[in-house]
Amino acid sequence: MAYRFPSEEWIHEYQKAINASEDYKKSGATWTAGAVCLVVLANPSIDMEKEIGIWLGLNKGVCEEIRLVTVEEAQKAPFVITGDYSRWKQVVLGELEPIQGMMQGKLKLKGDLPTIVRYVKASQDLVECASKVDTRFADESI
């Protein structure tokens, strides 16, 4: 079954994929820098009237919490990565590495870059987990 991105169903599948990943368990084992929030910008053409934040409560290689949040709440996370829907689609499909995307200006990062850079492998593993979720994108016909 394909899950619409982003949605409650999708994020819970994503959390399962993260916590099932031996690679992420290892690469994120020392991460204690707090939550990472992924903000998908509004896109009225696919009925996304408001920004949607995906709050990832990451700690020591485990995704302890995942929830959809408002953009205001998202800003409370120590790391906020923001991008257009189409950019996140590229990330989920494994076509865009998030850190490279940030350096190229395709994604925005609010937070301490050195900390993120230290976890390049973990970020790649998180993307790998996202690509394992059977995903349906709102801009594609069913």
Binding site: M102, Q104, K106, L109, L113, P114, V117
Partner: protein, 387 residues
């Protein structure tokens, strides 16, 4: 020259570049074009005493509202705060930085704060500015940093002993005025070190995982120009042709790495600079050949092409041998221009290298290294080779 089927890139180079001997006198015209009426010159404590700043001030005429000259070699948040406060007092609507990387980056920081308010650290991150900032004209007095065309600024947080990176398209300066007269007085060692920084920008842009054809073209030609003109500029600081060509090469290198990014050399140099105060260009110069040898198996063809750009005959050689030749040529080159060859010569303590190796894994440049690096032990080995 083959590129991957997955090649994709964004190339940005919006800065208007003006080159010519005496071009600094164009500052007033460019300020007018940018509708600047209250111009703040940003420079350092030494340059402000020279005719270089006076030339720019005279060119700006009545538009020059003031000069902020508190910039130090390792600029910091406190300096940006001071400059912003002064700029606000003056009602500055345009910045003209005159100096090396530190002055340029200070002006970038002030430009953010003047427009967006708050303190600079509130704006740390990548691409988080939501619109244009105070316009900025750059007049470099060194040929190496390339910051006159780049989208980044590195500012030290002296209180917490860390370097903050600000990277945003809106940080790219509006105008760069490259005037060879502005670099004529640069001492030999600084000429050599900043020139090696530029060479390193070219080579890192070429071996970066984000290398692409447009940046490649700039970087390859930059290497040829630096190989030819840096020794001349070091030998005779008054060689106006060599000074000019080095300014152009440095600017091309800046545009190349601002798009293609950097790699392990800068990551290692940043850390050795932060911990032991080794000047950036010298750290790069020492580490560059060792890093090439470390990366060699990841992209021997690239280094073979670099050897060729450095003037070596590598036709018929196995790519790995040709790549090794690139490292050897760089060693010979840096010796010839009087650069230190080891970290030991720069008073680096071997006992501190392990911590540097850990820090290097947190440097943004390392992301683009052609050989992925996750183990501080590997970095430590490079430092030890260079020690």
């Amino acid at each position: 020259m083959a590129y991957s089927k997955r090649l994709n890139f964004i190339f940005r180079a919006p800065t208007k570049i003006i080159f010519g001997t005496g071009a600094a006198k164009e500052a007033g015209i460019e300020a007018e074009a940018l509708k600047g009426t209250r111009v703040l010159i940003v420079t350092d404590q030494d340059l402000v005493k020279t005719d270089l700043v006076k030339t720019v001030k005279d060119a700006l005429g009545a538009k020059c509202a003031g000069i902020f000259s508190d910039v130090t070699p390792d600029t910091g948040l406190h300096i940006i705060d001071r400059g912003t406060k002064y700029g606000r007092t003056l009602g500055a609507d345009l910045l003209v930085s005159v100096g090396g990387g530190s002055s340029i980056d200070t002006a970038k920081g002030i430009a953010i704060c003047l427009t967006k308010g708050g303190r600079l650290e509130d704006h740390a991150g990548l691409n988080i500015l939501d619109g244009p900032i105070t316009p900025h004209i750059v007049i470099p007095t060194t040929a190496g940093t390339g910051s006159e065309v780049t989208y980044a600024a590195v500012i030290k947080d002296h209180e917490h002993k860390r370097k903050l990176l600000f990277a945003d398209n809106y940080l790219i300066p509006n105008v760069a005025i490259l005037d060879p007269n502005m670099t004529v007085g640069l001492p030999k060692r600084l000429t050599a070190a900043t020139g090696m920084d530029a060479l390193c920008h070219c080579i890192e842009a070429l071996h970066s995982r984000q290398a692409e054809p447009i940046a490649d073209a700039l970087a390859f030609h930059g290497i040829r120009m630096i190989k030819e003109f840096l020794p001349r500029a070091v030998e005779n600081g008054g060689d106006i042709i060599a000074r000019g060509q080095m300014l152009i090469a440095s600017c091309m290198a800046g545009a190349a790495f601002s798009n293609a990014q950097l790699g392990i050399v800068h990551a290692l140099a940043h850390c050795i600079g932060a911990r032991f105060g080794v000047p950036h260009g010298i750290a790069n110069s020492i580490l560059l050949p060792h890093c090439i040898l470390y990366n060699l198996d990841a992209c021997p063809d690239r280094y073979s092409q670099i050897a060729e750009a450095l003037g070596e005959e590598v036709g018929g050689l196995d790519p790995s041998k040709a790549a090794e030749q690139a490292a050897k040529t760089i060693w010979e080159f840096t010796k010839a221009i009087g650069m230190p060859q080891t970290l030991r010569e720069m008073n680096v303590e071997e006992s501190g290298l392990e911590e540097c190796a850990k820090d290097a894994l947190m440097d943004g440049s390392i992301v683009y290294n052609p050989k992925p690096v996750f183990d501080p032990g590997e970095i430590l080995k490079i430092y030890q080779m260079a020690f």
